[in-house]
């Protein structure tokens, strides 16, 4: 899932300080699951913003709405009936959702309430870790199912650097050395020979370095 977290309230207040009425839009997908922008968080942020405003002797009217997904136009369209009554839209979705709202409602300012962090997995309640960088050319088949691009601080493809110590990355004792994980796993699978070969230089163009990515499935297109 996409993992995000709420921006500091001050920053959000900064966006909407001149507004009287805002539309606060949550998303019931990834950001709900990672506790950043679901219906619950929309309620909390709404309460916090209203409170911050009234502390300053101002009134803020907040309309709360949580869409099934902000990354599909049909859902985004659901706001069309009433969005115009508000001075601005604040999105509690990932960066994708913010942009979808912005592109659909051209005459309204759309502000992000979240910082979109990474694509990751939940490691138990309240802990998420990065797992994928969407490089467009998956190497996991050669690395024991553990991604050195997303999980090695230097994205090394040919084994651990000299900073790997006790299974941890040189950048922090909290971070596992991805290569240690790869080696442990391949050793367990008796597939260490896969690492003997030199991994060639990677094509980064599908990773976004070739410009914004777009995918078309002709068979599905209408």
């Amino acid at each position: 899932m996409i993992v995000a977290e709420r921006k500091p309230i001050d920053e959000i207040i900064g966006f909407v300080q001149d507004c009287k009425k805002i539309l606060l839009v949550g998303c019931n997908e990834c950001v709900t699951v990672c506790y950043a922008g679901g219906k619950k968080e929309v309620g909390i942020l709404s309460s916090a913003l209203k409170m911050a405003f009234s502390k300053e002797g101002k009134n803020l009217d907040v309309k709360e709405a949580t869409l099934e997904r902000q990354c599909d136009p049909e859902y985004v369209q659901q706001l069309s009936e009433y969005y115009d009554q508000y001075d601005a839209i604040v999105s509690m979705a990932c960066g994708v959702g913010v942009q979808e709202l912005a592109m659909r409602y051209l005459n309204k300012q759309v502000f992000p309430a979240l910082n979109t962090n990474f694509m990751g997995a939940s490691q138990g309640q309240g802990i998420w870790e990065e797992r994928c960088q969407g490089c467009g050319e998956c190497v996991l088949g050669r690395t024991g199912g553990i991604c050195p691009i997303a999980r090695c601080a230097k994205s090394l493809l040919n084994g651990p650097c000299g900073g790997s110590m006790n299974g941890k990355c040189e950048i922090s004792k909290e971070v596992d050395c991805a290569w240690q994980l790869i080696i442990d796993r391949l050793t367990g699978l008796k597939q260490m020979h896969m690492l003997e070969e030199i991994f060639p230089v990677k094509d980064w163009s599908p990773a976004g370095h070739g410009g914004p990515r777009r995918m078309v499935r002709e068979d599905l297109k209408s």
Partner: protein, 1012 residues
């Protein structure tokens, strides 16, 4: 013609044992008379501050049981009552009781406390071990059940001085004082009787050597409990009685009134004092603002209970409680007359004088004179220490058929053992009267509920004066007037006592006449009164969840007496909040699920078989599953008990009876392969027979009785040298190889093999008794043999202490070795050398022995698979974990699954039998219901909103939510406990806890703050 048995049971004694027995019986379809000689139930446990080994607050864990007992439709509590005689026989007893007057009408008393407040007479408070005073009009303790005051005739001025005073009568707002009450004789017919009259703490004043009664700073352990208690004489501040200063040094003296045949023939070990002294030392250190030195003077530390050894280790290793293995020479007042000087021999054999600020006497369990008289009146025999005499294999049955016993009157017991025996005795009594189940119990019928869907709220509010309790502080008419103008309110009335019978009638009339569909009562606590008012509106055809209460007494008039105006304003706030909340209430329904009236027992040892027979005896089918080819379990290795009972004969008989019982289906070579369902309706997949063919069985309850195994030693040349054996192996030799034993000159027994060490920190409980038993047996076969028992503490708790004494008198040597310095066992031409450091002599000793016998511990069997399948937790030593160490000792955390015998922890056969009966009682309590009600206040998921995020699945402490086949969260209402944790974690706001929905809470917040 045989007369029908009576479906009622009398429980004598309202301590924790009596309460548990009463609840189990009443919940299983029997009408219970709970007879208590004092003014309220609760017994000794109500006086304790904390309970070992978890240091839970005693009153906190007990009070729900008190309340449950107090309001149970089928438990009649007879306080201030004593048994005069018991005639008749098993199945049909006639009991004659005397009930002493309370001088306060129990139906009128509203427990406001005015009588106590106005009473001018102060007397020593027994509940607080006379450390402070109470009034002659009083209540034993604030949580007492029944919560009704009484007048202590002995001290009351009215009774002592020609009917003067009458202050209580004058001020009582409920007109409840009645000086004319007389002693009442009651005759009750019951089918069985359970004796649960408990114990009294040993009175150390009998001996003058303890300075008890002379120095105020020498206190008994029960007095010390009160000192520690937040509700005690010093509000929980640890001070000593003489000057109320914080002590810096406290000594505990163990075995006061225990293990001593000289003073008052207390030859038994009281079994609980070591662990409670450790608890008190830990709690005292926690309470103390200054560093506190705590020293426990002991003979042997006997922490043989489940996880108690860890508690002991924590006390000495982490918390720094000092343990002095020493007999005290003397205890004398120190120079300042307040401190005490203890003279003792220290570990090195030197005489030490040490001053303490305070001394706590760890007094033992004693049987009071009244209990001895009671036994005599009932025709029940006592043993040589005046405890009730029972058979080893039938430990809860007295000598008079139909009369059972549990708890400390049967032998020294701690709380979980008492609770276990209480349930066990209930099982035994239920089995006796099973045909009479539900013949005398009451059940309430209610009219059909009104449908309120789509109807606007019509709220009636009843504001209570509670005599002057509320009315004396809060301006009730003003509050009522205010309430009448609140939105949706159609009726607002004030009542002198809203809880009185006539007001209930009034409320019902209002509901009918004004078509009320919500009711608000502004009075006292939901905890005590919600059931009453819920019942009232139910009788008028309203769903009970359409009631809302505002507590304007406990939360207002009682606590803000000095400012009547602000108390009135606060009452308005609370009423406004309750009315707003009420308008959002909706009816909740409970679903009835039929119960599968069959038990499944896993494990065919003595515990499993005992439970099976009792369940069958109570009239239910049982499937008994055993993994081995034969029934019998671990007991098959045992010849006799320490007391000399023939285990083999008993076991053979038991197996025969079980096999021929038509309600029991025995499946050997069978194991559990799968498990699902909820209490009342489980489905278990069994792998049956050598071919392991799968068979699915349905049942309403499950008992785990899978036992444990003997530790297989890796140490002391075991398996390498033929003359190194375990105690179990030695026991096997006693019958067949007597000649060989006659040839032995020196035998060394080593204790704590595989117990009380790093890999198994717990005490295995039974090995000391086993060693004493076999040592005596060896000595009887070969009187010339020298038997040396090398131990760390001899733990012959309870009456087993007699045999320890006998062994010493027979010349068996008990030598103490040091922890972490285990004896060394070496081969040496034809002999085995055992070398160890003797702690008493302080030097190394080598014994040349013919035979080394290892007291091997008890270790859990392969419990993990079963625990996984059943989803019940294990302890770190892989024994099954009970739901609550103290008060739910045979329940697991999963409703409907119970545990007994060695699967729960090491124990002797009689203890396993008691526990098996207890597990059966708990299981039959469930099986005796025709259906179980589920639902009510539970969490519900809106599948439309659910994001399937798993957060509820992870957050629920009971592992109830799961993602269903539709890919959304689902909560099984039969398992939900209603805590609301999931609802408050759900990031999609898809879960709400009914009756505490977000909208309902936020409405209350809004209403409360709207005036600010």
């Amino acid at each position: 013609m045989v007369k029908d048995k009576t479906g009622a049971i009398m429980v004598v004694g309202g301590g924790i044992g009596g309460i548990q027995a009463a609840l189990d019986l009443a919940d299983s379809g029997f009408y219970v008379y709970l007879v208590e000689k004092s003014s309220s139930i609760g017994g000794k446990m109500s006086q304790l501050d904390k309970t070992f080994p978890t240091n839970d607050c005693s009153m906190c864990i007990m009070s729900p049981k008190l309340v449950e007992c107090g309001k149970h439709l089928n438990i009649e509590i007879l306080t201030l009552s004593e048994i005069e005689s018991v005639t008749g026989e098993e199945g049909n007893f006639h009991v004659r009781l005397i009930q002493h007057p309370r001088y306060i009408d129990i139906d009128k008393c509203i427990a406001c406390g005015t009588c106590a407040e106005k009473c001018p007479k102060k007397v020593a408070d027994e509940y607080n071990t006379k450390l402070i005073k109470r009034k002659a009009a009083y209540i034993r303790y604030p949580q007492a059940v029944p919560l009704k005051y009484l007048i202590d005739k002995k001290n009351c001025i009215y009774f002592r001085k020609d009917k003067k005073c009458r202050a209580c009568e004058k001020f009582c707002p409920a007109e409840a004082v009645d000086f004319d009450q007389k002693e009442r004789e009651i005759t009750i017919d019951v089918g069985a009787i359970i004796l649960a009259s408990g114990f009294q703490p040993y009175n150390p004043a009998i001996s003058d050597s303890y300075q008890y009664g002379r120095s105020p700073n020498v206190v008994t352990s029960l007095e010390f409990e009160r000192i520690l208690s937040a509700s005690g004489p010093y509000q929980g501040h640890l001070v000593r009685p003489s000057d109320e200063r914080e002590p810096k040094k406290i000594a505990w003296l163990q075995c006061v009134g225990s293990r001593n045949t000289r003073i008052g023939d207390k030859g038994y070990c009281s079994a609980v004092c070591c662990t409670y002294a450790i608890k008190q030392a830990i709690v005292a250190k926690e309470h103390s603002a200054i560093p506190l030195d705590t020293a426990i003077f002991y003979i042997d530390i006997r922490t043989h209970g489940k996880d108690f050894e860890k508690f002991f280790n924590r006390a000495r290793e982490e918390i720094g409680v000092r343990f002095e293995k020493s007999r005290i020479n003397s205890i004398l007042p120190a120079h300042d007359e307040e401190n005490l000087e203890i003279t003792y021999l220290n570990g090195e054999g030197k005489v030490v004088r040490e001053e303490f600020d305070m001394v706590v006497l760890s007094v033992g369990i004693d049987i009071p004179k009244e209990s001895i008289d009671l036994a005599q009146k009932m025709g029940v025999e006592l043993n040589h220490y005046n405890f009730v005499s029972t058979g080893y294999f039938d430990p809860l049955r007295t000598t008079r058929p139909g009369i059972f016993v549990c708890g400390a009157f049967q032998g020294p017991r701690d709380i979980p053992e008492t609770v276990t025996q209480a349930s066990g005795s209930a099982a035994a009594a239920s089995s006796l009267l099973s045909e009479q189940r539900h013949t005398l119990t009451k059940e309430k019928e209610y009219p059909e509920e009104m449908d309120i869907t789509g109807k606007a709220p019509r709220i009636g509010i009843f504001v209570c004066h509670c005599g002057t309790n509320i009315g004396g502080v809060v301006d009730v008419p003003k509050v009522t007037e205010y309430a009448s103008k609140l939105p949706n309110v159609v009726v607002a009335e004030e009542n002198l006592f809203t809880c009185s019978q006539d007001t209930q009638v009034k409320i019902k009339e209002s509901i009918h006449e004004r078509q009320l569909n919500r009711v608000v009562v502004a009075s006292c606590s939901v905890r005590t009164h919600e059931p009453l008012f819920q019942d009232t509106i139910r009788e008028a055809g309203l769903n009970p969840y359409l009631l809302s209460m505002a507590n304007i007494r406990d939360q207002d008039s009682w606590v803000h007496r000095s400012n009547k105006d602000s108390a009135t304003e606060k009452a308005k706030d609370l009423v406004r909040m309750a009315v707003a909340g009420a308008s959002k209430l909706s009816p909740l329904y409970r679903t009835k699920l039929p119960v599968t009236k069959r038990g499944l027992i896993v494990g065919g040892g003595i515990a499993g078989m005992t439970a099976a027979l009792n369940i069958a005896g109570q009239g239910f089918e049982v499937i008994l599953v055993e993994i081995e080819k034969e029934l019998g379990g671990f007991a098959g290795n045992i010849r006799t008990t320490l007391q000399g009972d023939n285990v083999r004969q008993y076991l053979a008989g038991l197996i025969e009876v079980v096999k021929h019982n038509e309600k029991i289906e025995v499946l050997t070579e069978t194991s559990v392969a799968g498990f699902s369902g909820t209490k009342g309706n489980f489905k278990t997949v069994l792998g049956v027979g050598a071919s392991m063919h799968h068979r699915e069985v349905t049942h309403g309850a499950l008992i785990i009785a899978t036992g444990a195994t003997e530790y297989r030693p890796k140490e002391y040349l075991y398996g390498e040298h033929e003359s190194v054996r375990t105690q179990v192996e030695l026991e096997g030799m006693l019958l067949t190889e007597g000649e060989k034993i006659k040839g032995w000159k020196d035998v060394v027994m080593i204790q704590c093999v595989g117990s009380r060490n790093n890999s198994n920190p717990n005490c295995s409980r039974i090995c000391c008794q086993q060693a004493v038993k076999n040592a005596i047996a060896v000595k009887e076969i070969n009187p010339d043999v020298n038997v040396f028992i090398l131990h760390r503490d001899i733990r012959t708790y309870g009456f087993a202490e007699d045999f320890y004494r006998q062994a010493r008198q027979m010349g068996i040597h008990f030598l103490r070795y040091k922890e972490h310095e285990d004896p060394i066992v070496e081969k040496a031409e034809g002999k085995i050398h055992v070398t160890f450091k003797d702690l008493t002599l302080g030097r190394e000793i080598t014994i040349e022995s013919d035979q080394v016998v290892l007291g091997t511990g008890v270790v859990a069997g392969d419990t993990e698979d079963l625990a996984n399948v059943l989803k019940v937790p294990l302890t770190s030593e892989r024994f099954f974990l009970e739901a609550h160490v103290k008060l739910r000792p045979v329940d697991t955390q999963s409703d409907g699954i119970f545990v007994c015998g060695m699967a729960h922890g090491p124990k002797t056969i009689d203890e396993s039998i008691s526990q098996a009966l207890a597990a059966s009682a708990r299981a039959c309590r469930l099986l005796s219901q025709d259906y179980i009600e589920v639902g009510g206040i539970v969490a519900r998921v809106d599948p439309e909103l659910c994001a399937s995020c798993l957060i509820c699945v992870r957050a629920c402490p009971y592992e109830v939510p799961f993602i269903n086949n539709d890919g959304v969260s689902e909560i099984d209402i039969s398992k939900c406990q209603g805590c609301g944790i999931c609802a408050s974690e759900c990031p999609a706001k898809a879960i709400d806890l009914s009756h505490f929905e977000d909208m309902q809470i936020l409405t209350q917040i809004d209403a409360l703050l709207e005036a600010s």
